[in-house]
């Protein structure tokens, strides 16, 4: 479903965002992308939605080679991938409903159908009661849920969540991770970028670690949760 083959990205400043990264994520998989700030997590997400092109290597999403994808095909690609941006990218002069309905409007879905779908998704993420509020009236966790709802509204095959727990307390962070996990169980491939160690320790999911643009660890069997479970079994 997602494959990065010997991908390097050098920015205009001469700094390398990624160096020779090989990575593949299967359908319906849940993977954490971890690493300190500047390690290349967001760069991978930007490559996956074809916001930027790699300097070297190939990026494949759903049989699309993004390095060869014509410009007019980019909107089609982006409709298949839901993204929860690090800075959320919500429009503060629009209500929750108006923010979430945007991808449906872009796709040309009729208003009645769109309204029904938005209500479904807002119920799924647990903020249906806030649908007519403006983002400024919501808490950090609720804003994350709005961003997740917008990413989910087109029922994407892939969901990319960039530091969705970044500014949240641990209880709210867990709620968000639980929500993403539920979404994954319904069949969506989820990649979540984070540097929240607590979450990694307590969830038995695949962990892909990056450091200074290089892939330093990618072994599902060594993920903290699974290691802990294995140790528990031994005992």
């Amino acid at each position: 479903m997602i494959k990065l083959d010997k991908v390097s990205k050098k920015f205009g400043t001469g700094v390398f965002g990624l160096v020779d990264v090989n990575l593949s994520v299967d359908k319906k998989e849940f993977a954490f992308l971890v690493g300190p700030t500047g390690s290349g997590k967001t760069t991978i997400f930007r490559l996956l939605i074809r916001e930027i092109l790699p300097t070297e290597g190939t990026v494949i999403v759903n049989d699309w080679d993004l390095t060869k994808l014509p410009k007019h095909q980019i909107p089609h690609l982006r409709k298949k991938i839901g993204v929860v941006f690090q800075d959320l990218k919500l429009l503060f002069d629009r209500t929750v409903f108006e923010n979430v309905v945007m991808p449906l409007e872009v796709t040309g879905v009729g208003m009645e159908e769109a309204k029904q779908r938005v209500e479904e998704v807002l119920t799924q993420v647990g903020i249906i009661e806030h649908k007519d509020k403006f983002p400024i009236q919501l808490s950090g966790g609720e804003l994350q849920r709005v961003a997740i709802a917008r990413a989910l509204v087109l029922s994407p095959q892939i969901l990319l969540a960039d530091e969705p727990t970044g500014n949240l307390d641990s209880a709210t962070s867990w709620e968000i991770v639980k929500l993403l996990s539920d979404i994954n169980e319904k069949g969506t491939t989820v990649i979540m970028a984070t540097h929240n160690v607590d979450i990694l320790k307590n969830l038995s999911k695949r962990v892909i670690a990056l450091e200074k643009g290089k892939l330093v660890r990618d072994d599902p069997s060594t993920s903290s949760g699974q290691v802990r479970k294995k140790e528990e079994k031994k005992v």
């Binding site: 939605i49 916001e51 007019h72 980019i74 909107p75 089609h76 690609l77 982006r78 409709k79 993204v83 941006f85 990218k89 429009l91 945007m102 991808p103 409007e105 872009v106 796709t107 917008r150 087109l154």
Partner: protein, 288 residues
Amino acid sequence: MKFIKSSLRNIRRSPYQAFAAVLIMMLTFLTISFFTFLLTGSSKIINFFESKPQVTAFFKNETKQKDINALEVKIKNTGKISSVEFVSKQEALKIYKQQNKDDPLLLDLVTADILPASLEISTFKISDLSGISEMLKESSIVSEVIFQKDIVSTLVSWTSAVRKIGSGLIIVLSLVSTFIMITIIGIRISQRKEDIEIMRLIGASNWYIRWPFLFEGMFYAAVGAAIGWMVASLALWYSAPFLSSFLRGIPILPVSPIFLLEVLLAELIFAIILGFLSSFLAVLRYLR
């Protein structure tokens, strides 16, 4: 028609820019309307003079009918005449009374005696007018010859000058409007930079993003054109009584509502093209 809703929301949110855009378009189309009315009026006046007897010969008071008839036959025999009409003193008085029916003071002072009888002569070719005019002047029974070729040629040169000035002014104003519209739509695009970025990231196509701006430009231009036309039409309607008395005898007023609607339609089409072009240039410049 989601883009229309989106455009109208943008217009509502920045009313001053919308007002400026409509105002500049109104100014352009007000000028276009005025010059359209002026040029149409002038060409109708020219047509009127061209279709009227082009040479009028007034006879001396004591002239006998048989001399007039002889002159009429002589002129007809040249073979250059398309029509000749004799206007007697009584008929001249009737025409005078008709033209001045609203002014009793002028009617009281005039009798058939002081109005001369005349011959109104049209030729097949304008070039034959001079010869006929000279022939009439040589006749001893003719007191005065009015040769309308001079009036027509003066009008033609005036109309041509008005057309040149009008065209120049319309071109300059259209260019100014275009540049101002490009700037206003450019500001709109800058204001909505964040929305545009988000829309792109969630899969909006370039045309989905462009259409509201293109519609906005066409909307400003169309509204400006409609207001400009309305102001010019009201001004024409308001000044119609004055113009009617000034252009006495020349049947160009009142202006037909169909003509006014045709002008509106033509202006709306031009406005939509101008609005589309301006916004398209802005979109190409600021929305790559």
